[in-house]
């Protein structure tokens, strides 16, 4: 839901208290929906895997809500963000991270799959992971000359890999393991 229109990042931070679940997209403010248990499980599983993989000095993975200031008009809160350069991580993340992860929910499907994907592509985030918990599917997009191209994916079972995090592999069953009670169409 759109809240208010056309702000710069400074005004945005002045107006809204820290820890607000809001995003600034092209100068417009959008509320973030509250997330359900399954969404948080998936995000948590991924965070744990990434955290375990990253050794000292390989950069940092951060869990939402954290503001990522892409530019004056775009402040996003991805579900997970990985930045290799520690100088980008201060009270907020400033600049373009190497890897962004979004776990979709019905309320955020269009934003994650269409709008934010386009934005990450525009800002040249090298890798974008898009996860559909209900479909138990994970997509890894790699930034190419032609924009995002599918680099790796898996449904229910199988491994996905990352290009940005060389050597990182993930069995998707482990990402979706606690979601068995969900109806599958």
């Amino acid at each position: 839901m759109q809240v208010k229109t056309k702000l710069a990042a400074e005004e945005f931070f002045k107006l809204y208290t820290q820890g607000s679940r809001l995003e600034l997209i092209n100068g417009e403010v959008y509320e973030m929906p509250g997330q359900c248990v399954n969404h948080q499980r998936v995000v948590g599983n991924l965070y744990f895997k990434l955290r375990s993989f990253l050794k000292e000095g390989l950069g940092e993975v951060l869990l939402s809500p954290v503001d990522v200031v892409f530019d004056q008009e775009n402040v996003l809160q991805p579900d997970l963000v990985y930045a290799s350069d520690p100088s980008k991580v201060e009270d907020k993340v400033y600049g373009v991270p190497e890897l962004v992860v979004e776990v979709i929910s019905p309320q955020t499907l269009v934003r994650d799959f269409v709008e934010k994907r386009k934005l990450y592509e525009r800002f040249k985030v090298k890798e974008y992971w898009l996860i559909f918990p209900l479909e138990k599917t994970m997509f890894v997009y790699e930034l190419t000359e032609n924009g995002y191209e599918l680099y790796s994916y898996a449904t229910e079972k199988g491994k996905v890999k990352s290009k940005v995090l060389e050597g990182f592999e993930l069995e998707v069953e482990e990402v979706f393991k606690e979601l068995k009670s969900l109806p599958t169409p």
Partner: protein, 180 residues
């Protein structure tokens, strides 16, 4: 699942019996999984709406899967719903590019619907592409622009989506997902 490699459309039609649930993408044959109840229910509800609209307006024809759409010598797809304004393209199969294609994404077809097939529809100039996400009760309508597919309309659960190709067509998502 990939079945066999590098065929042309003619060979493909010769080898596989009519009404096989398979697609030919860049000369490679892919099996289509049998759809679920939810998929079929949503497809039926949506197809009736689109078909009634087109009959009422007396424009084109609306066909549901399985129907072969022959896009080129090495691409034959079976979209869930196709709308074609040019009736000369409709023979035993559909030969040429439809104006509008709808895919109902299920877990087993999600990847193909949102990446491979979307890219093909874009490349061949399908003017409008709808992706229906049953689990998320979401419909996304893309319109073909100079920069490829751009979001034209979308809604969740109770909202309305509209079409550009079928001017005046809109559907309340409750009619699609209600009770499911």
């Amino acid at each position: 699942m990939q079945v066999k490699t590098k065929l042309t459309a003619e060979e493909f039609f010769r080898i596989y019996p009519e009404e096989s649930r398979i697609e030919l993408i860049d000369g490679e044959v892919y099996e289509m999984p049998a759809p679920s109840f939810l998929h079929q229910e949503i497809l039926f509800r949506l197809a009736i709406k689109v078909r009634n609209f087109c009959e009422h307006k007396q424009v084109g024809i609306v066909v549901i899967a399985p129907i072969d759409v022959v896009l080129s010598r090495d691409i034959v797809l079976q979209p869930d719903i196709v709308y074609i304004s040019d009736l000369s393209k409709v023979k035993d199969r559909i030969y040429g590019v439809p104006d509008l294609v709808v895919e109902v994404a299920s877990p087993s077809t999600l990847k193909r619907d949102i990446t491979d097939k979307m890219k093909i529809y874009e490349k061949y100039g399908v003017k409008e592409y709808w992706i229906v996400f049953p689990s998320e009760k979401t419909i996304v309508v893309y319109q073909l622009t100079e920069n490829g597919y751009e979001l034209f309309s979308s809604a969740i659960e109770k909202g309305k989506v509209r079409s550009k190709v079928l001017e005046g067509f809109e559907i309340n998502l409750e009619e699609v997902f209600g009770g499911l």
